[in-house]
Amino acid sequence: MKKWTYAAAAIAIGGVVAAGAAAVSAEDKPMLTIDGETFTTHVKVPDDHPLAPEVISGWEYRTRETQALELDDFQNPAFLAVEQGEELWSAVDGSEGKSCESCHGDAAESMKGVRANMPRWNEAANKPWTLEEHINSCRKDRMGAEPWKWESSEMLGMTAYVGLQSRGMPMTVQTDGPMASWIEKGKELYYTRVGQLDMACANCHVDNYGKYIRADLLSQGNINGFPTYRLKWQGVGSLHRRFKGCMDQVRAKPYKRGSDEFVALEAYLASRGAGLSVETPAVRN
């Protein structure tokens, strides 16, 4: 319940900052609204859900200043990456003389909803593919171009741009069929203690969300905003970079970006956070 105290405190500050404006009451909790579209940051879930009663977006745990950066695309620093992605979308590259646009046309149509159901089962590879893997498979197999490195500015720009086309849509990863065992494996990893500090993801993000751990207000660790602009990174970073950072914090040997373990974690967190709006590219601190 502590978290609501913080929310209330932050609202009070909002009131102070908006000096001269009408007093802000506790009912006027700011909403995540971008260009007039209001996003789902709270999803009611049944009692057997690990985050019952509600799955909550990480946006709700950030300060009003950080939140504000996400509310306005002109202020959101991640849009530099989006612009790079947009340029790359129509840039011809590789031996086949093609760009993404050559096959997919207008991204606003063809890429709508793509980010919302990642990672998605790939029959030929016999595993779930992340957005990064889909992009690189097009580059290699259809464009004859070099794959991009996971954390390269090109890949971050493209995942931000493609992800943006799903912004506002609910996260809906496939959970049945061959995805089920990956989600189960991700869940197992999520509850496994690692590192010299001997902590599991769930110790922080399930047992203690809404509480401060030193200077950081713990969220539920949801993934609906990735790739995300992080103030601490002074740039945009991938979801798997965030996973690595959390493992580094507890002095664990992190898994590699794109590893089966991180893909399984991603699949689990996508299913756990179902219903939250895609916020790509979000802003966090």
Binding site: Y6, A10, G195, L197, D198, Y212, A215, L217, Q249
Partner: protein, 155 residues
């Protein structure tokens, strides 16, 4: 208003990149001790703990970093006391020296499934980063020092 301000300071520092638990642990000998009646009665080193050093070890973000989870009124000059664990005010009224030594050395032996790290333990851990492998978070003497400081926490 105090708590309102601190929320902003916290985030500013977090943005400046001051993370949790970053850095290198300095620890030496392999953990060995006897647990008796839910505590470790004997000193780990035979050298009396120094409470001032203990306070420093508790504050050190690369060491105990206890404030990341615990609030301590006696250290209210320090910023950012965490909320994950209970306040340590009055800890010495609730626990004996032997119990405190076990709580710090291996919290899991006292609080089942706790998030609190075991500060003087190397076995039973998984995927420890290479540079921390087989090292304890605190040295035996640091544990003694921390216990000496905790023993001053009376209300």
């Amino acid at each position: 208003m105090k708590s309102l301000r601190s929320r902003y300071i916290r985030s500013a520092l977090a943005a400046a990149g001051i993370g949790l638990f970053a850095g290198i642990a300095l620890a030496d000998e392999a953990p060995k001790y006897d647990v008796v009646d839910g505590g470790i009665p004997a000193s780990l080193t035979g050298v009396a703990g120094n409470p001032e050093n203990g306070k420093a070890a508790m504050l050190n973000r690369k060491g105990g970093n206890c404030l990341s989870c615990h609030a301590i009124s006696a250290l209210s000059d320090q910023p950012f006391h965490g909320e994950v664990g209970p306040t340590l005010d009055g800890a010495a009224d609730r626990w004996s020296e032997a119990q405190l030594r076990l709580i710090v050395a291996n919290s899991k032996a006292v609080f089942e499934d706790t998030i609190m790290p075991a500060f003087y333990r190397t076995e039973g851990l998984h995927r420890v980063a290479d540079k921390f492998a087989d090292k304890t978070i605190l040295s035996a003497q640091e544990v003694e020092d921390v216990v000496a400081y905790l023993l001053t926490m009376k209300e």
